[in-house]
Amino acid sequence: MSVRKQKLINQPENILNEMLAGFSAAYSDIIQLTDNQLIIRTQPKQQGKVGLVIGNGSGHEPAMIGLIGEGLFDVNVAGEIFTAPGPDRIVEGIKAADRGAGVLLCVSHHAGDLMNAEMALDLCQAEGIDNVEMAVLYDDISSAPKGRETERRGTAGLFFVWKMLGAYAETSGDLAATKAIAEKIRDNTRTLAMALTSCASPITGEVMFEMPEDEMEIGMGVHGEMGMGRQKIVTADETIDLMLPPIIEDLPFVAGDEVLVMLNNSGSMTLMELFILYRRVAQRLEEIGINVYKSWIGPYATTQEMAGFALSLCRVDDQLKVLWDAPANGAYLKQL
């Protein structure tokens, strides 16, 4: 499949600034862009509650700018395209998220994100800002085998963490408990992704990896890193039959479990395709005896115009179900 290389942008070096300017102009009732380029909530969380901040590379919209708002995150530090922000900017984000009960710095596990977050924590310590904790989050089963979960990278399934952690921190003044919830959701979440096409880097205009027209790849990162397994394209049902069993075996999810399911659109899948895929997921889960509590289908963490999707499952208990159903008001995630 050929890759669309042309993007309607202005100067590549202005992508981040212009994107944030447009986003904040469109959703000023929910978020604001500060002078130091942070995305913050228009309605700050109450004093005495734990602040949530995340830094990440851009180019994955609506993640994470679209998940800042009431019942979600407090501050997003958006880095350059596919590039984690530097430590000084993360420290600014931590300061902006502080409501007097400490701040949880969340890291979607990638080398750059983790290194910069660690340096930011060192800087906080040097400045005497304590009461900051870091939660390192991951979900992609294709990035490291079972038993080495801490080496896995963070991908689309972290959507479940952002939503439910956001709900928890909205009413919690306990930093340690907030971190524990983030890790609990992480430890119950598993993701596997696939791609049909590559995508072009917005900076260089170059195709990020080569992908033969009649092949697909299972196990994709959110940056279009080449995954682990290439094969000839098969049907929607066959694709789910390949992807669902390793996810189920990894946790493992078992009969009687209740789960949240997400099909994340990596860029240019059609909703038509995603619904057809979801139909098979629902069928297979029912056969196994796993109950779907709620589902979410759409673009959340994208990789430009890549055609592909991520399938994520999160096992929930009564506590997590309440958090899932709690209100949220981000530009790209709303729960009434």
């Binding site: 984690a84 530097g86 000084d88 750059g112 910069n116 660690e118 880097s201 940056h223």
Partner: protein, 213 residues
């Protein structure tokens, strides 16, 4: 020449900037095989900003040169590369403090501290298919040389050899790790950058030395 003046230290950063800008597309190309294809653009832009920032300072000191480079790499470049290359310069700052010029012994300490810092930050070592594969042999070659000229020449050779050695390796860190065996046959962009940087400094130092004799 037995010492590096502040002016020459600025010359190093300018030489690095020219070198990386000249090889920008080559580095992007290497990064597209293993990463997200923008390494050349992001690191050459960062060094251009570092040069501009340093040259805008009134009477910059050696300390300014190292600190400014570190800050720009960390915060303007970001990502894993910004953290690693930035850490390299940041670790040198305590050896440039209050100095008017750097002797070879000072440079030995700066390079060694930078190397240790990068290894610690990236939790990586030789053989992991990272910049360490070029940086560690280069630092060793520099330190075991008798003078600055030999040091830069030997370091450049060792760095280039180290960068080329990454072609046969599987990656243990970063995005390249996730493609497994398919990484074999591709040279690491970070290690190549180290080779280019040290070659840039070597060429600059040769010009300076020839100009003085």
């Amino acid at each position: 020449m037995s010492e590096i003046t502040t002016e020459q230290a600025i010359g190093f950063i300018c030489a690095i900037s020219h070198q990386l800008t000249a090889h920008r597309d080559e580095l992007n190309q290497l990064d597209s095989a293993l990463g997200d294809s923008d390494h050349g653009t992001s690191i050459s832009t960062a060094f251009e900003v570092a040069v501009k920032t340093i040259t805008s300072i009134d009477h910059p000191t050696l300390d300014d040169v190292w600190k400014t480079t570190a800050t720009v790499l960390l915060n303007r470049m970001g990502g894993a590369s910004g953290a690693l290359f930035g850490t390299f310069f940041l670790k040198g700052v305590r050896f440039t403090k209050d100095k008017k010029s750097l002797f070879k012994a000072d440079m030995d300490e700066i390079l060694q501290a930078g190397l240790e810092g990068v290894k610690q930050r990236g939790k990586s070592d030789v053989g992991d298919k990272t910049m360490i594969d070029a940086l560690q042999p280069a630092v060793k070659a520099f330190i075991t040389s008798d003078n600055l000229s030999d040091g830069w020449q030997q370091a450049a050779l060792a760095a280039r050899y180290g960068a080329e050695s990454t072609t046969g390796l599987v990656a243990k860190h970063g995005r390249a790790k996730f493609i497994g065996e398919r990484a074999i046959g591709h040279q690491d962009a970070g290690a190549t950058t180290i080779a280019l940087i040290i070659e840039g400094i070597r060429d600059y130092w040769e010009e300076q030395t020839n100009g003085k004799t």
